[in-house]
Amino acid sequence: MKPIESLNDFVIKFANVNGTGSASANNLFAKALFRMGLPVCPKNIFPSNIQGLPTWYEVRVSEKGYLGRRGGTDIVLSVNPQSMAQDIQDVEPGGYFIYDNTKPLDLRLLRNDVNIIGIPLTLICNEQYKDPRQRQLFKNVIYVGALAALLDMDFKVLTDLVEDQFKGKEKLVLPNIHALELGHQYARTNLECPIGIRVQTSDKVGDKILLDGNTALGLGAIYGGATVAAWYPITPSTSVVDAYEKYARRVRIDPGTGRRNYAIVQAEDELSAIGMVIGASWNGARAFTATSGPGVSLMSEFLGLAYFAEIPTVLFNVQRAGPSTGMPTRTQQSDVLSAAYASHGDTKQVLLFPSTPKECFDFGALSFDLAERLQTPIILMTDLDLGMNDNMSEPLAWDDDREFDRGKVMTAEQLEEGVEFGRYLDVDGDAICYRTYPGTHHNKGAFFTRGTSRDEYAIYTEKGEEYEKNMLRLMRKWETIKEYVPGPEIVDCGKKADTAVLYYGTSEESSREALDYLAEEGVHLDAMRVRSFPFNQEVEDFIDQHKQVFVIEQNRDAQLRTLLMAEFELGPDKLKSVLCFDGTPISARNIRKQIKQHLSGNNVTPLHRNIVAGDTK
């Protein structure tokens, strides 16, 4: 067997038990590598419970800066006997399986194409600590210390990090450093260090930050001027409102009175949450809700009202695998169609697809401008992978001269001057009409909001012509919207390719990496990242310019492809699907494999397109 040898480029997976405190130790490991100047991409793969089930934490280290999932695992660190049989199978040939050998390994599990490394973690803990809770917690820190020796990490970076993390809780610093040293010491004395895979300080991180998308979104809502947040708890969106609240408590307290310049209402369900957002926005505040697929389903009736009544509405959808009793802690991009056409009647909703924390922040803040400018719901589509994992990202930035775009609002002065007001009267020709906030003027500008059955002056009517006229104006507004939503990002491979790939959201990083692999093999493809729906002209042009386009997405039904086909009236041959829907983030190897199958003409039937997680080697 040839052990894997590599410098600053590998995938490690930690196999833990949920609720044992492993998350913070694993985090410490990833952050230390990041501080050594190495691009990292940590991903939590966790079950939907609080304690007791297997959980994994995968860290990709890539000096080249590939931040998506590569596929395959070079090192498994196993402290969960429950999943050990599978975990050892997941190691790449020549890879490393590090386990707690306090209890001897079941010989039936042994693989002779894998390097097996035992560390008596439980034994070390039992000797060192009396308290069972401490034994459990420090076991995690000890293996991080051991890994530092095995991978030749800069130990000082780790100890500095511990000091930073426990700032304000100094009592905890020394015990943690001690545990790190225990592991480090054990490995140095008893094991061959370093192994074939090692790391070295680098300079590939620059001014980047490590941040989860949900926190970035919460901050986006703060900077975007949201004052009302209404929500109902659901994984993986909960931490959006948590982050909003955390920062609101810091920056939104009125210095004079100590009172809050925000209101957060935990609603009784998602119907109520979106109703509150609509009520607040109707009344001139910036408001948002955050939810996931099951919540969007419940919000669907209200989303229709907001579409027809043209009420700014901001909804952050952190997608997960469906349905409600499905795999709530696994990632997918599977609400694209249900969000795009959310509600009954002829509705089309504006979608934004961020793909990094920076973009979550930017699009998060932008959502409020767009909602008010376009007077319609804005559904920001992120997912569990982006929302709940730390992602390496460009730093966040804000232009202090930026003003909110509050859209078309008629003021008391304008009404007083006698400017004509019709709530649904298109005076500017862009199909967006003026609204008034309640309470603006004592006898001008009041109107009655209802879905349809009204004329341009919001006076009740059930005339078919008025309904039709309004619907046609909404279609014209849809054209206006295309000018406002973020356009695509196009990467020209420079080889006049007639084939291209198209992706959005969290499929970006793995797609880019897959394209590099393919280019090395002589397959050159152009690429486009779609950032919004409605699709703007550039999206159409790009598709027109290519003979075939692979649409890469993380759902079974090729939902964005369907949307593209419907909106551009394309036949089925032009767009080909590259899919992953096992609940884990799509990997670069998986994408490469599927594209190659398509290109060689032997792509399997759609039903078997994608097999299982880990079938990505």
Partner: protein
């Protein structure tokens, strides 16, 4: 179709403190059935708002779906209105009230809208003690979908089709009390003398104020077998006492008989005078209110009047400690912490 009422002003029409006549508080001509109880309630709302001298445009009127929920078009034409979705008016009002605490929020709903599809939102808006007036136009049936029994229809009560209802009725006043409402009253659409002061008191109350108004549906539920018919309610209503409302600005000249009247000062300084008839009921005691409701349910009489009021109510804005300035008036400078703070956040993430 609805028509705007022509606004001509008779020189002798009485004006309120703001110089407005009652016509300034009216809306479009109603398209409900002639004799529908809902129209009388609309009339009472107009009177109450006029007499209280509230600026019409400082009121926001919101509703769900139903004949009852259509009625906001027929009053307060200078107020913004919102006909939302079935059973979800409370959430829309909650959001609106969070955005601007300075307006008066009037929610109008039906018994189907509130006691069935909207039961959850009704319960929770009461529990949050949102500062609003919540009027249920309660006819014991679904008017707009042609007369099906609603969840407030009394057991044994017969609809026009003739079938007696076999399920027990939900008492919205009892439910509201359970859920923590801080002002609970019941009235009858045909009794303006009682309804108008109750609406005024509800408006002045800071917190969630429910008025369950029995409002006969002449088309589907005004037959002899119905317990929500004009005749039945007139015969079986029993008032807790008479209520008189004295706005802060008006001098108190009326003579009250001590011992029988109870004066309550409201948040804004105005006062309610209650003449108690029912010695059992102490409307400032929740337990007493619940027991009295239960007593009347057992005897089959309909208790009307002010049933409960919490004089120390803290509304949702108090609880959330939101700023006194309406949130919708805050601007970039109040809301946006600037790039410097982002730089600090970035630094903590490296």
């Amino acid at each position: 179709m609805s028509y705007q009422i022509p606004k001509f002003r008779h020189p002798d029409l009485p004006v309120n403190d703001l110089g407005y006549t009652k016509a300034d508080y009216e809306g479009s001509i109603s398209s409900l059935c002639a004799g529908c109880g809902h129209d009388s309630i609309s009339g009472a709302i107009v009177m109450a708002c006029h007499e209280l001298s509230i600026e019409p445009h400082k009121i926001a009127k919101l509703s769900g779906i139903g004949c009852s929920s259509k009625s906001p078009t027929y009053f307060l034409g200078n107020s913004h209105g919102f006909n939302s979705v079935h059973g979800r008016m409370p959430s829309v009002v909650t959001g609106a009230a969070m955005a601007n605490r300075d307006l008066m929020y009037l929610g109008v709903s039906g018994d189907g809208d509130t006691a069935s599809i909207g039961m959850g939102q009704f319960a929770h808006v009461a529990r949050r003690n949102l500062n609003m007036v919540y009027i249920v136009m309660n006819n014991g049936c679904y008017g707009l979908t042609k007369g099906q029994d609603s969840a407030t229809a009394d057991e044994g009560s017969a609809s026009k089709k003739g079938d007696a209802n076999v399920y027990s009725a939900i008492d919205l006043c009892g439910t509201a009390l359970q859920m923590g409402a801080t002002f609970v009253a019941r009235s009858f659409s045909g009794d303006k003398g009682q309804l108008v002061p109750l609406i005024k008191a509800a408006i002045t109350h800071r917190g969630f104020a429910l008025i369950d108004v029995i409002s006969p549906c002449v088309t589907f539920n005004n037959n002899p077998g119905s317990t929500k018919s004009y005749e039945f309610v007139r015969e079986h209503a029993e008032a807790t006492g008479t209520v008189d409302f004295v706005p802060m600005r008006r001098e108190i000249t009326t003579d009250y008989k001590p011992g029988f009247s109870h004066e309550v000062t409201m948040h804004d300084g105005s006062s309610i005078h209650l003449y108690k008839v029912d010695e059992e009921l102490d409307p400032f005691n929740r337990r007493s209110a619940m027991m009295t409701l239960e007593d009347h349910r057992e005897t089959g009489s309909i208790l009307t009047g002010l049933i409960y009021m919490d004089r120390d109510s803290r509304d949702l804005h108090d609880v959330l400690e939101t700023s006194q300035r309406p949130l919708n008036e805050l601007r970039e400078g109040d809301l946006c912490p600037g790039n410097k703070m982002l730089e600090n956040i970035n630094a903590s993430l490296r």
